[in-house]
Protein backbone atom coordinates (compact mmCIF):
# COMPACT_ATOMS: atom_id res chain seq x y z
CA UNK A 1 0.00 0.00 0.00
CA UNK A 2 1.15 3.53 -0.63
CA UNK A 3 1.77 5.90 2.27
CA UNK A 4 -1.53 7.70 1.58
CA UNK A 5 -3.32 4.43 2.41
CA UNK A 6 -1.14 3.88 5.48
CA UNK A 7 -1.98 7.31 6.85
CA UNK A 8 -5.53 7.87 5.63
CA UNK A 9 -6.95 4.50 4.59
CA UNK A 10 -8.27 3.20 7.93
CA UNK A 11 -6.84 -0.21 7.02
CA UNK A 12 -7.74 -0.10 3.32
CA UNK A 13 -7.21 2.13 0.34
CA UNK A 14 -7.42 5.84 1.20
CA UNK A 15 -9.86 6.57 -1.59
CA UNK A 16 -12.23 3.81 -0.45
CA UNK A 17 -12.48 5.33 3.02
CA UNK A 18 -15.97 6.88 2.84
CA UNK A 19 -15.16 9.36 5.60
CA UNK A 20 -13.15 11.48 3.14
CA UNK A 21 -16.25 12.12 1.05
CA UNK A 22 -18.57 13.28 3.82
CA UNK A 23 -20.27 16.65 4.05
CA UNK A 24 -19.16 16.88 7.70
CA UNK A 25 -15.58 17.44 6.53
CA UNK A 26 -16.75 20.30 4.34
CA UNK A 27 -18.47 22.00 7.26
CA UNK A 28 -15.60 21.31 9.67
CA UNK A 29 -12.99 23.01 7.49
CA UNK A 30 -15.37 25.56 5.97
CA UNK A 31 -14.56 24.23 2.51
CA UNK A 32 -17.64 25.62 0.80
CA UNK A 33 -16.18 29.15 0.58
CA UNK A 34 -12.69 27.82 -0.01
CA UNK A 35 -13.72 25.71 -3.01
CA UNK A 36 -15.93 28.45 -4.45
CA UNK A 37 -13.00 30.87 -4.37
CA UNK A 38 -10.63 28.28 -5.81
CA UNK A 39 -12.85 27.26 -8.73
CA UNK A 40 -13.90 30.82 -9.52
CA UNK A 41 -10.22 31.53 -10.10
CA UNK A 42 -9.10 28.11 -11.24
CA UNK A 43 -7.40 28.92 -14.56
CA UNK A 44 -5.30 31.63 -12.92
CA UNK A 45 -3.68 29.54 -10.24
CA UNK A 46 -0.47 28.73 -12.13
CA UNK A 47 0.19 32.35 -13.08
CA UNK A 48 -0.74 33.88 -9.73
CA UNK A 49 2.26 34.54 -7.52
CA UNK A 50 2.20 32.99 -4.06
CA UNK A 51 5.17 34.04 -1.90
CA UNK A 52 6.63 35.73 -4.98
CA UNK A 53 6.58 32.53 -7.01
CA UNK A 54 4.43 31.16 -9.85
CA UNK A 55 4.72 28.22 -12.24
CA UNK A 56 5.82 30.20 -15.33
CA UNK A 57 9.10 28.71 -16.51
CA UNK A 58 9.21 26.41 -13.48
CA UNK A 59 11.20 23.80 -15.39
CA UNK A 60 14.16 26.18 -15.61
CA UNK A 61 14.06 26.90 -11.90
CA UNK A 62 14.15 23.16 -11.23
CA UNK A 63 17.37 22.84 -13.23
CA UNK A 64 19.26 25.25 -11.00
CA UNK A 65 21.36 23.34 -8.43
CA UNK A 66 20.13 23.68 -4.82
CA UNK A 67 17.35 26.11 -5.78
CA UNK A 68 15.82 23.37 -7.94
CA UNK A 69 15.82 21.01 -4.95
CA UNK A 70 14.19 23.65 -2.76
CA UNK A 71 11.49 24.36 -5.36
CA UNK A 72 10.75 20.64 -5.70
CA UNK A 73 10.67 20.13 -1.95
CA UNK A 74 8.39 23.15 -1.40
CA UNK A 75 6.00 21.98 -4.13
CA UNK A 76 5.79 18.47 -2.67
CA UNK A 77 5.30 19.77 0.84
CA UNK A 78 2.42 21.93 -0.36
CA UNK A 79 0.76 19.13 -2.34
CA UNK A 80 1.10 16.61 0.50
CA UNK A 81 0.03 19.05 3.22
CA UNK A 82 -2.42 17.74 5.82
CA UNK A 83 -2.83 21.08 7.59
CA UNK A 84 -6.22 22.76 7.41
CA UNK A 85 -6.26 24.50 4.00
CA UNK A 86 -5.85 28.26 4.14
CA UNK A 87 -5.12 29.71 0.71
CA UNK A 88 -7.45 28.85 -2.20
CA UNK A 89 -4.82 30.09 -4.67
CA UNK A 90 -2.42 27.32 -3.67
CA UNK A 91 -2.73 23.65 -4.58
CA UNK A 92 -2.47 22.80 -0.88
CA UNK A 93 -3.26 19.23 0.10
CA UNK A 94 -3.96 18.38 -3.54
CA UNK A 95 -2.55 14.93 -3.98
CA UNK A 96 -3.97 12.12 -6.08
CA UNK A 97 -3.54 8.58 -7.30
CA UNK A 98 -4.05 6.72 -10.55
CA UNK A 99 -6.87 4.16 -10.33
CA UNK A 100 -8.12 1.44 -12.66
CA UNK A 101 -11.75 1.12 -13.75
CA UNK A 102 -12.71 -1.34 -10.97
CA UNK A 103 -11.73 1.02 -8.17
CA UNK A 104 -13.43 3.99 -9.82
CA UNK A 105 -16.63 1.94 -9.99
CA UNK A 106 -16.27 1.04 -6.30
CA UNK A 107 -15.92 4.75 -5.47
CA UNK A 108 -18.97 5.69 -7.50
CA UNK A 109 -21.09 2.86 -6.12
CA UNK A 110 -20.16 3.08 -2.47
CA UNK A 111 -18.26 6.25 -1.47
CA UNK A 112 -19.32 9.17 -3.65
CA UNK A 113 -21.79 11.54 -2.01
CA UNK A 114 -24.73 12.76 -4.07
CA UNK A 115 -25.42 14.92 -6.01
CA UNK A 116 -23.02 13.53 -8.62
CA UNK A 117 -22.29 15.66 -11.67
CA UNK A 118 -20.06 15.62 -14.71
CA UNK A 119 -18.32 18.90 -15.50
CA UNK A 120 -16.04 20.25 -18.20
CA UNK A 121 -12.44 19.22 -17.55
CA UNK A 122 -10.45 22.31 -16.47
CA UNK A 123 -7.13 20.94 -17.61
CA UNK A 124 -8.20 20.30 -21.18
CA UNK A 125 -9.72 23.76 -21.26
CA UNK A 126 -6.63 25.51 -19.93
CA UNK A 127 -4.26 23.58 -22.18
CA UNK A 128 -6.29 23.25 -25.39
CA UNK A 129 -9.28 25.58 -25.05
CA UNK A 130 -11.57 22.57 -25.44
CA UNK A 131 -14.60 21.90 -23.29
CA UNK A 132 -15.00 18.20 -22.66
CA UNK A 133 -17.35 16.85 -20.01
CA UNK A 134 -15.42 14.02 -18.39
CA UNK A 135 -14.70 15.11 -14.83
CA UNK A 136 -16.97 13.62 -12.16
CA UNK A 137 -17.70 15.59 -8.97
CA UNK A 138 -19.46 14.70 -5.73
CA UNK A 139 -21.46 16.32 -2.98
CA UNK A 140 -20.74 19.93 -2.08
CA UNK A 141 -18.33 20.25 -5.00
CA UNK A 142 -21.20 19.49 -7.39
CA UNK A 143 -23.24 22.27 -5.80
CA UNK A 144 -20.37 24.73 -6.23
CA UNK A 145 -19.72 23.83 -9.88
CA UNK A 146 -23.43 24.25 -10.57
CA UNK A 147 -22.93 27.97 -9.80
CA UNK A 148 -20.00 28.37 -12.24
CA UNK A 149 -21.41 28.30 -15.80
CA UNK A 150 -18.11 27.84 -17.63
CA UNK A 151 -17.71 24.35 -16.13
CA UNK A 152 -21.21 23.21 -17.02
CA UNK A 153 -21.49 21.10 -20.17
CA UNK A 154 -23.70 22.76 -22.78
CA UNK A 155 -25.40 19.78 -24.33
CA UNK A 156 -24.96 16.94 -21.89
CA UNK A 157 -27.17 16.21 -18.96
CA UNK A 158 -24.78 16.82 -16.12
CA UNK A 159 -26.52 15.62 -12.97
CA UNK A 160 -25.99 11.87 -12.94
CA UNK A 161 -27.36 8.91 -11.02
CA UNK A 162 -24.73 6.53 -9.62
CA UNK A 163 -25.44 4.13 -12.46
CA UNK A 164 -25.06 6.83 -15.11
CA UNK A 165 -21.84 8.03 -13.51
CA UNK A 166 -20.42 4.50 -13.71
CA UNK A 167 -21.41 4.27 -17.36
CA UNK A 168 -19.87 7.64 -18.22
CA UNK A 169 -16.63 6.79 -16.41
CA UNK A 170 -16.47 3.42 -18.16
CA UNK A 171 -16.84 5.16 -21.55
CA UNK A 172 -13.99 7.58 -20.80
CA UNK A 173 -11.78 4.78 -19.52
CA UNK A 174 -12.37 2.56 -22.56
CA UNK A 175 -11.51 5.53 -24.77
CA UNK A 176 -8.10 5.69 -23.11
CA UNK A 177 -8.51 8.37 -20.44
CA UNK A 178 -6.55 7.74 -17.24
CA UNK A 179 -8.66 7.35 -14.09
CA UNK A 180 -7.42 9.49 -11.18
CA UNK A 181 -8.80 10.34 -7.74
CA UNK A 182 -7.75 13.39 -5.70
CA UNK A 183 -7.76 14.97 -2.31
CA UNK A 184 -8.77 18.53 -3.04
CA UNK A 185 -7.94 19.87 -0.49
CA UNK A 186 -6.99 17.20 2.04
CA UNK A 187 -9.00 15.58 3.71
CA UNK A 188 -11.86 16.02 1.22
CA UNK A 189 -12.26 13.88 -1.91
CA UNK A 190 -14.55 15.42 -4.51
CA UNK A 191 -13.05 14.84 -7.97
CA UNK A 192 -12.85 11.65 -10.04
CA UNK A 193 -11.04 12.54 -13.25
CA UNK A 194 -10.41 10.98 -16.63
CA UNK A 195 -7.05 12.45 -17.56
CA UNK A 196 -4.78 12.79 -20.55
CA UNK A 197 -1.07 13.46 -20.87
CA UNK A 198 0.23 16.18 -21.43
CA UNK A 199 -2.96 18.20 -20.77
CA UNK A 200 -3.49 17.11 -17.15
CA UNK A 201 -2.02 19.67 -14.76
CA UNK A 202 -1.90 17.04 -12.00
CA UNK A 203 0.12 14.49 -13.97
CA UNK A 204 2.52 17.03 -15.48
CA UNK A 205 4.56 17.78 -12.33
CA UNK A 206 5.25 14.07 -11.87
CA UNK A 207 5.80 13.02 -15.50
CA UNK A 208 7.79 16.05 -16.64
CA UNK A 209 9.46 17.22 -13.43
CA UNK A 210 9.56 14.26 -11.03
CA UNK A 211 7.44 16.04 -8.42
CA UNK A 212 5.13 13.62 -6.59
CA UNK A 213 1.81 15.25 -7.43
CA UNK A 214 0.22 11.87 -8.05
CA UNK A 215 0.97 8.32 -6.94
CA UNK A 216 1.11 5.27 -9.14
CA UNK A 217 -1.90 2.97 -8.73
CA UNK A 218 -2.16 0.19 -6.16
CA UNK A 219 -1.78 -2.07 -9.20
CA UNK A 220 0.77 -2.89 -11.86
CA UNK A 221 0.36 -4.61 -15.21
CA UNK A 222 1.07 -8.34 -15.57
CA UNK A 223 1.75 -9.59 -19.07
CA UNK A 224 0.94 -13.13 -20.22
CA UNK A 225 3.29 -13.43 -23.14
CA UNK A 226 1.87 -16.67 -24.51
CA UNK A 227 -1.49 -15.04 -25.19
CA UNK A 228 -0.01 -12.07 -27.07
CA UNK A 229 -0.17 -12.07 -30.88
CA UNK A 230 1.84 -8.89 -31.33
CA UNK A 231 -1.00 -6.81 -32.76
CA UNK A 232 0.42 -3.69 -31.07
CA UNK A 233 -2.98 -2.21 -30.14
CA UNK A 234 -1.98 -1.70 -26.49
CA UNK A 235 1.05 0.49 -27.28
CA UNK A 236 -0.81 3.71 -27.95
CA UNK A 237 -3.19 3.14 -25.03
CA UNK A 238 -0.30 3.52 -22.59
CA UNK A 239 0.12 7.24 -22.01
CA UNK A 240 3.08 6.56 -19.73
CA UNK A 241 5.21 5.10 -22.52
CA UNK A 242 5.65 1.76 -20.73
CA UNK A 243 4.87 -0.52 -23.69
CA UNK A 244 6.97 -1.14 -26.78
CA UNK A 245 6.28 -3.50 -29.65
CA UNK A 246 8.96 -5.91 -30.76
CA UNK A 247 8.04 -6.34 -34.43
CA UNK A 248 10.45 -9.19 -35.02
CA UNK A 249 9.30 -11.39 -32.15
CA UNK A 250 5.68 -10.17 -32.45
CA UNK A 251 5.57 -9.59 -28.70
CA UNK A 252 5.61 -6.51 -26.52
CA UNK A 253 8.09 -5.45 -23.88
CA UNK A 254 6.85 -3.62 -20.82
CA UNK A 255 9.01 -1.29 -18.78
CA UNK A 256 7.46 -1.91 -15.36
CA UNK A 257 9.25 1.11 -13.85
CA UNK A 258 7.09 3.27 -16.11
CA UNK A 259 3.79 1.46 -15.48
CA UNK A 260 1.41 3.60 -13.41
CA UNK A 261 -1.15 0.79 -13.17
CA UNK A 262 -3.96 2.64 -14.93
CA UNK A 263 -5.20 -0.55 -16.57
CA UNK A 264 -5.99 1.11 -19.89
CA UNK A 265 -3.85 -1.24 -21.98
CA UNK A 266 -6.30 -4.02 -21.08
CA UNK A 267 -9.07 -2.29 -23.01
CA UNK A 268 -7.00 -2.56 -26.19
CA UNK A 269 -6.07 -6.21 -25.86
CA UNK A 270 -8.41 -8.69 -27.54
CA UNK A 271 -6.16 -11.63 -26.56
CA UNK A 272 -6.59 -11.14 -22.82
CA UNK A 273 -2.80 -10.94 -22.43
CA UNK A 274 -2.77 -7.98 -20.05
CA UNK A 275 -3.95 -8.16 -16.43
CA UNK A 276 -3.62 -6.10 -13.28
CA UNK A 277 -1.96 -7.35 -10.10
CA UNK A 278 -1.52 -5.70 -6.69
CA UNK A 279 1.58 -3.53 -6.74
CA UNK A 280 2.53 -4.34 -3.16
CA UNK A 281 2.65 -8.08 -3.96
CA UNK A 282 4.82 -7.62 -7.05
CA UNK A 283 8.49 -8.31 -6.18
CA UNK A 284 10.65 -5.24 -6.65
CA UNK A 285 7.70 -2.84 -6.93
CA UNK A 286 6.19 -3.07 -3.44
CA UNK A 287 7.29 0.43 -2.60
CA UNK A 288 7.27 1.95 -6.06
CA UNK A 289 4.49 4.49 -5.82
Amino acid sequence: MCDLCMKHGAGGKWYLNAEHYSNQIVEKYNLRDFLMEQYKNFEQISVRKVHGFNAVGMGYKLRIPIIGRIVKHTAEKMLHSTNPPTNPFKAEGHIGQVIPLEDAIAILETCAVEPIIEKNCMCRYMARGEKEACCINFGVMSEIIDKLPRFIPEKDKYFLTRKQAVERFREHNRKGYIGTIWFGPYPYINNLCSCANPECAGLRPRLDYGIKSIYKAEYIVHYHEDECNGCGACVKFCQFGAIELDRVRKKITINLDKCFGCGLCRHACKQNALHMAPRDETPGFEKDY
Binding site: K40, N41, E43, Q44, S46, V47, R48, A55, V56, G57, M58, G59, Y60, R63, Y125, M126, A127, R128, G129, E130, L148, P149, R150, P198, E199, R204, L207, D208, Y209, G210
Partner: protein
Protein backbone atom coordinates in the same frame (compact mmCIF):
# COMPACT_ATOMS: atom_id res chain seq x y z
CA UNK B 1 11.12 13.28 -17.73
CA UNK B 2 11.49 16.56 -19.47
CA UNK B 3 13.21 16.70 -22.81
CA UNK B 4 16.44 18.54 -22.16
CA UNK B 5 16.56 21.10 -24.94
CA UNK B 6 19.72 23.16 -24.61
CA UNK B 7 19.52 26.75 -23.45
CA UNK B 8 16.47 28.75 -22.49
CA UNK B 9 13.43 29.34 -24.66
CA UNK B 10 11.55 32.60 -24.47
CA UNK B 11 7.98 32.72 -25.69
CA UNK B 12 5.98 35.93 -25.76
CA UNK B 13 2.40 36.71 -26.65
CA UNK B 14 1.77 40.24 -27.88
CA UNK B 15 -1.31 41.26 -25.93
CA UNK B 16 -1.88 44.19 -28.27
CA UNK B 17 -2.65 41.54 -30.92
CA UNK B 18 -4.44 38.82 -28.92
CA UNK B 19 -6.02 38.75 -25.48
CA UNK B 20 -7.34 41.18 -22.96
CA UNK B 21 -5.51 44.15 -24.52
CA UNK B 22 -7.63 43.92 -27.69
CA UNK B 23 -10.82 42.44 -29.00
CA UNK B 24 -9.28 39.16 -30.20
CA UNK B 25 -10.60 36.45 -27.90
CA UNK B 26 -8.09 33.61 -27.51
CA UNK B 27 -10.93 31.32 -26.47
CA UNK B 28 -12.36 31.59 -29.99
CA UNK B 29 -9.08 31.16 -31.86
CA UNK B 30 -7.14 28.60 -29.80
CA UNK B 31 -4.79 27.88 -32.72
CA UNK B 32 -1.60 27.96 -30.64
CA UNK B 33 -3.20 25.80 -27.94
CA UNK B 34 -4.16 23.15 -30.46
CA UNK B 35 -0.93 22.85 -32.45
CA UNK B 36 1.50 22.67 -29.53
CA UNK B 37 2.30 19.01 -28.95
CA UNK B 38 3.76 19.37 -25.44
CA UNK B 39 0.93 21.76 -24.37
CA UNK B 40 3.20 24.63 -23.39
CA UNK B 41 0.44 27.28 -23.29
CA UNK B 42 -2.12 28.16 -20.65
CA UNK B 43 -5.46 29.80 -21.42
CA UNK B 44 -6.53 31.82 -18.40
CA UNK B 45 -8.38 34.79 -17.06
CA UNK B 46 -6.27 37.81 -16.36
CA UNK B 47 -5.34 38.33 -12.74
CA UNK B 48 -7.93 40.28 -10.86
CA UNK B 49 -10.52 39.75 -13.59
CA UNK B 50 -12.62 37.46 -11.49
CA UNK B 51 -13.26 39.97 -8.76
CA UNK B 52 -14.80 42.29 -11.35
CA UNK B 53 -16.61 39.88 -13.63
CA UNK B 54 -15.54 36.27 -14.01
CA UNK B 55 -17.23 35.76 -17.35
CA UNK B 56 -16.15 38.86 -19.20
CA UNK B 57 -14.88 37.63 -22.59
CA UNK B 58 -12.33 40.45 -22.76
CA UNK B 59 -10.55 39.15 -19.70
CA UNK B 60 -8.87 36.08 -21.18
CA UNK B 61 -5.32 35.72 -22.40
CA UNK B 62 -2.64 33.15 -23.18
CA UNK B 63 0.59 32.68 -21.26
CA UNK B 64 3.42 30.35 -22.25
CA UNK B 65 3.76 28.40 -19.04
CA UNK B 66 5.93 25.30 -19.52
CA UNK B 67 8.75 26.99 -21.40
CA UNK B 68 11.37 24.30 -20.89
CA UNK B 69 9.12 21.70 -22.58
CA UNK B 70 8.97 23.67 -25.83
CA UNK B 71 10.59 21.73 -28.69
CA UNK B 72 11.01 24.91 -30.80
CA UNK B 73 8.92 23.41 -33.61
CA UNK B 74 7.55 26.93 -34.40
CA UNK B 75 4.06 25.62 -35.17
CA UNK B 76 2.48 28.14 -32.80
CA UNK B 77 4.19 31.03 -34.56
CA UNK B 78 3.15 29.74 -37.99
CA UNK B 79 -0.45 29.11 -37.00
CA UNK B 80 -1.20 32.35 -35.15
CA UNK B 81 -3.49 34.42 -37.39
CA UNK B 82 -2.74 37.57 -35.39
CA UNK B 83 1.04 37.22 -35.54
CA UNK B 84 1.09 37.48 -31.76
CA UNK B 85 3.41 34.62 -30.81
CA UNK B 86 7.21 34.88 -30.79
CA UNK B 87 9.56 32.05 -29.88
CA UNK B 88 13.25 32.81 -29.38
CA UNK B 89 16.13 31.13 -27.61
CA UNK B 90 19.76 31.28 -26.67
CA UNK B 91 21.79 28.09 -27.18
Amino acid sequence: MANQIKGKTKITIDYTRCGDGVDVDPRECRACLKVCKPAVFLLHETLGAVEENPYDPKKWRITALWLDLCTRCMKCVESCPAGAVAVTWKE
